[in-house]
Each structure stands twice: as C-alpha cells, then as structure tokens.
C-alpha cells in the first residue's frame, strides 16, 4: 500500500478539479493507495471517502506538489482541465489513471443534505434560485464582466427567478439590487450547500462553475444543474466547460483570441506591485467601457436568453413570493 500526501495551494477552483484526480486514482487502483492532501481549501475535502489521515513525518509517506502542465497545451490539445492533474499523476507516478466522471468530487454529509439550505434558512421557506457571482478576485480582473450587465440580467428575471449573490469579502463583488445578498456571509461549506440546493449558477470562469458540476444533485433531480459561464476569450471552452454548462466565449471571434484563449490576467494595471501588471499579462483590447473586448461582446440579452432556455422559467412559471425581501 503506497502512502501519498498530495499538495496544492492554488485557488479553490483548482482544488475542486484536484478532487477528481484523487477519486479517479482510487478507482483505477482500488486498495493500492492511501492518500491524504494538503491544500489551500480543506473544506473542499470534508466527507471525502478517499482520504486517510497521514503524517509527513511517517517514513513511509511520500508527498508531492500537484501541477497540471497540460494547461500549456490547452489551446491546441483535446483535453479538459479534469485531465490536468490526472496526467501529472500518471507522469510522476507511472500510472494509467483515466477520468471516470466529467466533474470534481465534492461530498456532503447526510446532515448537510437534509438540513435546509442557506436560502431556505434566510427566507424561512423553500424557494427555487440561481446563484450569481458577479465579480471575482483582484488577481485576474480580466474575467470580470460589467457590473451593470449583471444587474440587467437580474432585472430581466425580476419576479420570475430569485438570484442569490455570493462572493468572498475583500474580493470585487459590487452589490446588485433585487437579489438575496449573501456576499461575505457564506463559508465554503455554506457555499457548497447553497450550490447543492441551487437550480443554476451564473458566473464568470471561477470556483462556482466547478462547484456547479462537482456538487452532487439532490435526490430526485434528473436534470443537470444549470450553469451559464460568461467567459470571453481568456480560456478555451473545451478546457473549462462541463456537460450541460453554457460557456459563453469569443474564441475565434477576435484577433487576440483568434486561435485560442489569450490567458491574460488583467484588464488594466492595478499598480499593486503584482507581476500581473506586466504588459504581457494585460488585455490588449480594452473598450471605452473599461471591459475587455471579448467580454463586451457578450451582452446581457444573450445571457438572459441562455438562462431562459436553460431554465424554461417563462413556461414553467417559477413562483416566487413577491414579499421576499431581496
């Protein structure tokens, strides 16, 4: 039995993808490995059946920082992010792991599944909703869409669909009107429970799209959890998109992303001393509105039309109590 501690200190979205690799390692080699992790987001590993507490000091235990060099070929090779860590483990450990599911591997406890979701706890009654993450971290500002466009999408669904705004405190998440505002109020486990009960998710390329796929569906739900990702031209769709997701991209539509994702970091320099202000890391096509051209091309109308098709809210008459204070 080989004992391994796998490390990764990247962002939560990356860690969600790593959960898939650990799952598939054990499925490919049942009973051959004892695994533990050291990552930036321990909450994502709660209830994970593939982990065994291991100590680094144990002479039998080996550890490895996990990377995904496959990303270097993401624009040209037919691979998804899910393949990234798996290929790295295969290369490093001489294995033949294969992806078994097209999603990460997040587990909820029985108590978490049975307990009312954060929205139901806030409103004191169950209510269908979508999660909206209208912003992100300050490192990759190029992923941001315009604050007013998020609002236009919310406004379009006023009275038909409840949006729950989430976002980490300290990150860029400008307040939206007519939403249930849970910004800065959810732990990572709360967010997972929120996703578990959500009908859909609207977000840029970020943690939430990975959770949309990785968090299991509630019992009885047959349809995949909806997710509309406002992506632009930074990352190739085949690398990021999950089954059933709508990945609104502009790859091929602009010179700067004519043959693949540009993988730039920021729209404009922030002057915070970060290397992400480097000219090579900045968007080359910023519009007068201060948006990357690729993000400007995605209109609020396009987004709400996709959301409508996804949810069929206009036909299914999703009832929302108008008295909810959102």
């Amino acid at each position: 039995m080989k004992k391994w501690i796998f490390e990764n200190w990247l962002s939560p979205g990356d860690i969600v993808v790593l959960t898939a690799a650990i799952r598939d390692l054990h499925r490919a080699y049942p009973g051959r490995f004892l695994t533990d992790v050291r990552t930036s987001c321990p909450a994502l590993w709660e209830n994970n059946p593939y982990l065994t507490p291991l100590k680094k000091e144990d002479a039998e235990v080996r550890s490895m920082v996990c990377h995904y060099p496959l990303i270097h070929r993401s624009n040209s090779a037919p691979n998804h992010f899910i393949h990234g860590f798996i290929e790295y483990l295969n290369e490093e450990l001489g294995l033949r792991i294969r992806p078994t599911e097209f999603k990460g591997d997040i587990h909820l406890s029985g108590e978490e599944k049975e307990r009312p979701g954060p929205v139901e706890e806030s409103l004191c009654e169950p209510c269908p909703y979508w999660i909206i993450a209208a912003g992100g971290k300050y490192d990759y500002t190029i992923k941001w869409w315009h604050r007013r466009r998020w609002q236009e999408v919310v406004d379009h669904f006023k009275g038909k669909l409840l949006f729950v705004q989430v976002g980490e405190k300290g990150h860029y998440h400008p307040p939206l009107k007519n939403v249930l505002d849970l910004r800065g109020k959810t732990t990572l486990r709360d967010l997972i429970r929120l996703v578990y009960h959500a009908d859909g998710i609207l977000c840029p390329v970020t943690l939430h799209m990975h959770l949309a796929a990785a968090v299991p569906l509630p019992p009885g739900r047959k349809r995949l959890r909806s997710c509309v990702v406002i992506a632009g031209g930074r990352e190739p769709a085949h690398w990021e998109q999950y089954p059933g997701h709508h990945f609104l991209h502009t790859i091929g539509a602009l010179e700067c992303c004519a043959t693949g994702g540009c993988w730039k970091s920021r729209t404009v320099a922030l002057g915070d001393g970060s290397k992400l202000d480097h000219s090579d890391a900045l968007c080359r096509h910023v519009t007068a509105n201060g948006l990357p051209r690729c993000m400007e091309m995605i209109t609020s109308r396009q987004v709400w039309e996709v959301c409508e098709r996804t949810t069929c809210v206009l036909n299914e008459t999703v009832s929302i109590n108008q008295n909810h204070k959102v």
């Binding site: 990764n8 990247l10 990303i71 290369e91 500002t141 300290g170 860029y172």
Partner: protein
C-alpha cells in the same frame, strides 16, 4: 486558474525579471479629475449631508493618498445626493408646486447618473463604494480596498518538482536563476 507557461499564448514572449520590470505596465491612474472640488471647502457646506467613510471621518481635504482621494470623489457624489434628497423631502412636506418638485427629481436623476458614471469609470480596477442607508440618506460608505499581494511562508512555496533536474550535472547548473512569481504557488521558471 493561472496559466503558467506562455508558450502557446498569442503574442507572448520570453521574460526575464529585468525585462519584466522594464515592461511593467504603468497602472491606470484612475483618480479624481483636476477640477474635482471637495465640497467641504465650500462656504455652503452642509456637514449633516456628508457621509462617513468606512465608518470613520473622511480623509482630510487635499489628501495625497490615491485611495483616499478616490474615496473623496465618491463621498462628494453621495453628498450631493443627500442634499438633493433632503431638498426633495422638504419640498414635499411643504407641498411645494409640482413643477418645483419635478425639478428636484430631475436633479436627483442627474446626480444618480453621475454616480453611476463614476462607478463605471472605476469598475476596471474594482474600486467602488457601498453605501449604508438611513431611509433615503447615505450615511456611511464602505470602500473596497484590493488585497495587496500576499506573502507566504517559504514552507508553502519552496518545493517545485522539476522532473529530470537531478540528472543534470552540477557543472551545467550555472548562470542566473530566472524565477517569475505570479502569486500563490504560481511560479514560472
């Protein structure tokens, strides 16, 4: 997700630390325009309409810190709205002619549009003020301050597995080490 290599990125080029410093993009200095006038310097300044800044007194007029100057520009916009909202309230309470009320409403709309334009202008750098309301008045504005680059202990960032490196003779491992750091555990060599 951070892409660590630029090999297949359109328009990318090899970098060295020195070259990077040369190519660092000057930050977009979004700041109050030269014509910005701090309302507190006006003779008719109404301190009751001036909101708090992050729960505290606002920076002093003429503050040199860029963050504080940005805050002042937003506070001035909210101050204007507070004054107009109070005028409207008074006129309605006094049953002023509709024409006069409409004029105030029109000015409130214009001030709201101006605030939205201000928010839009600063949106690319993620700077915005979030008001705490008291009825129709803006009493306190909380401003987001982007996190500065984090410094992590070397324990978390020192080990980078480079397959095959151990097979290279020491004699060939000479010359300057080029390490470009892109934040948390995201390193280009």
């Amino acid at each position: 997700m951070q892409k660590k290599s630029k090999k297949d990125v359109p328009g990318a080029s090899g970098n060295t630390p020195d070259a990077m410093d040369d190519k660092m993009q000057a930050p977009t200095l979004l700041e109050p325009p030269p014509k910005f006038a701090d309302p507190r310097l006006r003779r008719d300044f109404d301190s009751d309409a001036w909101p708090l800044c992050n729960g505290n007194s606002a920076p002093l007029p003429g503050a040199s810190d860029l963050y504080e100057r940005r805050c002042l520009e937003f506070l001035a916009a909210y101050y204007r709205l507070n004054r107009l909202n109070r005028s409207q309230l008074i006129e309605r309470q006094n049953y002023e002619p509709q024409k006069k009320v409409r004029s105030i409403v029109s000015r409130i709309n214009a001030a709201t549009v101006a605030l939205e334009k201000l928010e839009d202008r600063y949106a690319p750098i993620g700077f915005f003020g979030e008001p705490v309301m008291d009825g129709i008045f803006y009493r306190d504005i909380s401003f987001v301050r982007p996190e500065l680059p984090r410094v992590y202990p070397p324990l978390q960032s020192s080990h980078i597995a480079i397959p095959g490196l151990e097979q290279i003779p020491q004699s060939e491992l000479r010359g300057p080490v080029k390490i470009l750091r892109f934040g948390r555990e995201k390193v280009d060599l």
